[in-house]
Amino acid sequence: MLLGPQRLRPSVAGALADLGVDGPVAVVTAGWQERESEIDELCEHVGCEVVDLELFRRAEELFERDPALFTALRERTGRLRKLQRLYSTRLDHAMAAARELLARPAQDDLVAMHFGGAVEAIRDLDREHLDRVEAIRAAFDEEHGVAERDDVVAARAEVARLIDGCGALAIAGGHVAVLVNRLRLFDAVASAGSRPIVAWSAGAMALADRIVLFHDSPPQGAGNAEVLRAGIGLYDGVLPLPHAKRRLRLGDPARVALFARRFAAHRCLAFDDGARLDRVGDGWAGVDGVTRLTVEGRVVPEGDR
């Protein structure tokens, strides 16, 4: 189950109740980084026993015990950051071309043809970047045998044991890269097995097949959404966009249209306060307050055409 941001309109408790979960709930707040343990408000809201998986702390301790892994990860992070910057440089030009074509007053067939080509070029760039990022990650995992390292094996077993005693897994937002790295490192989502998972904000983003960073009006830069990496892949075909009202210019049809066309293989779903989307089997069912960005540049309630 995917939820909107929780700070102003918390809805996790209601979601858990609807799922029939009244037992302990395992929570991941690793995206909060050093504030990971500040879960009092969340516990109070949830109203049942909460098991803090402490994935951020566990990772810090693991890195202390395994400095070789830490050093290698730091080098990989530096390499991935550089890759992201290089991708961003090319992306700026590709996006500028698409925007310029979209802004032409006379939208005839020739302009449309070139606009389509410009969007396809952006998609190619996104795919290329994603492939490169995942290739670096896969090579790293293989080279360093991350999943076989003693400390990692032990920590994963401990996390799995904790989750095993719980009726659901709740994944909060925060720093999406930190969160998805910790979820992967400790294999927490796989350990949840068939238990219900409730995730919001960065938590929802981390579970998707790809993670897209977005902000239309940053104080610096062009505000081009960027593909960061693959997510956990618990579901595909949906890009959750938390805080969309604040982060995206939803009233700007051109920006909305370009976003939706660029990521047309996904449903671009805005999750603001109170939003909720339930997954049933391989599909999605109950929808509440979720809106969708359309290729025509509109923002419509999810479920509408």
Binding site: G31, E34, V176, A177, S201, Q220
Partner: protein, 378 residues
């Protein structure tokens, strides 16, 4: 002239009651695109506009509308401008400068307040206003014994919301700190920008001068105080990242001179500088004509221009195009860039005032200290 007012006057001489009713509904100045009509009502022998736009004639006379107490002056003003002004009302026994009684917009500074014209398109940036969603930080007051000045100095420290002593924070030291807090809403701005993750949670020290014109004009004891007294005191008490890239220094006007000269004297200490409307007067040839207070400034800027070194890695420079200092600031930018520093220069249609400096805080702070905006989704 404003169309509605023009229509009113076209019907013949309006009564006082008709004018009262009109101005109860229309705040002055009246803005129609780039055409701005300044208004004064009252008995006088003359009325004049005094503005703070460098290079544009001031004391322009208003014209009286026959048979009324209405005085008007229409000017072209570019869009997105903020202009501070006062009205000079002349009587037979003398004249006085007053704020525009028909304009509710005021800009305050340590010397009082001026009326503000907001031309077409200008709005107060929403991040300068309190946002109920933003978690508020806290201001604490500290006093330090300064050997450099031989007396105690008071300063205030902003601690961000959810301040945690186990974390490490970037540090920004602000010259004219109390003025930035009072006149540039800097606490509100910090709360908002941190909440929006446009800047990281950070510790900000607001320092204040004694004799400002001396201490901020390339004064060795001042630089020593900042670097050898204030900075260590802050690092002793607060969890601050001990790295050049995480330390910033900023100021406006003479405060910008103090910022640059301190960083110049202590290269490698501050990695980030924010220089707003710096009083960077210099002479290529001839003598300083800005008065004796500028003598040490001119000496410093001349020396700096000769050998800038690399006082910081990343600088934000801003200046209003209506300021007399725009030439000096524009001249500084290529010099800084040629010296290998990363520079962001921003101009605005504004003057030498605290609201100009407030309105540039988002661009400056987020340039100097980019926040985790792209990565965090809470």
């Amino acid at each position: 002239m404003n169309r509605a007012l023009e229509a009113l006057l076209a019907d013949g001489t309006p009564t006082a009651e008709a004018l009262d009713a009109f101005f109860a509904e229309h705040a002055a100045p009246l803005v129609d695109g780039t055409e701005v009509t300044f208004v004064y009502r009252g008995e006088a022998t003359g009325v004049f506009l005094h503005h703070w736009i460098f290079g544009l004639e001031s004391a322009q006379p208003f014209e009286r509308v026959d048979g009324t107490d209405l005085w008007l002056l229409t000017e072209d003003v570019p869009a997105d401008s903020r202009i501070e002004y006062k009205i000079e009302v002349e009587h037979v026994d003398g004249s006085r400068l007053i704020r525009d009684p028909l304009n509710p917009h005021l800009a305050r500074d340590p010397f009082g307040a001026n009326s503000v014209l907001r031309s077409a398109g200008y709005v107060d940036p929403e991040w300068t206003r309190p946002d109920p969603e933003s978690r508020p930080g806290e201001l604490v007051t500290r006093v330090i014994r300064s050997e450099a000045f031989g007396r105690r100095r008071r300063f205030r420290v902003y601690l961000p919301a959810r301040y945690n002593v186990r974390r490490r924070y970037p540090l920004l030291i602000v010259h004219d700190g109390d003025d930035y807090l009072r006149f540039s809403a800097m606490q509100t701005v910090l709360d908002n920008l941190i909440h929006r993750m446009e800047i990281p949670p950070m510790i900000v020290a607001f320092s204040n001068p004694g004799d400002r014109l001396i201490e901020y004009a390339n004064h060795e004891p001042h630089a020593r105080h900042i670097v050898e007294e204030l900075l260590p005191a802050l690092e002793d008490e607060f969890p601050i990242v001990a790295a050049e890239a995480a330390r910033g220094l900023m100021g406006a006007s003479f405060g910008a001179v103090a910022t640059l000269s301190t960083a110049w004297r202590y290269p490698g200490t501050f990695g980030r500088l924010l220089l707003q409307s710096g009083s960077f007067a210099f002479t290529d040839i001839g003598r300083n004509r800005r008065g004796p207070a500028f003598e040490p400034v001119v000496s410093f800027v001349n020396a700096f221009r000769h050998a800038p070194g690399r006082p910081a890695a990343r600088l934000f420079v801003s200046c209003g195009v209506y300021e007399s200092l725009i030439y000096e600031n524009r001249s500084l930018v290529p010099l800084l860039q040629q010296s290998g520093m990363r520079v962001r220069f921003v101009e605005a249609r504004d003057g030498h005032n605290w609201e100009n400096w407030r309105d540039r805080l988002q661009a400056g702070l987020s340039w100097a200290f980019p926040g985790p905006l792209w990565m965090i989704y809470e």
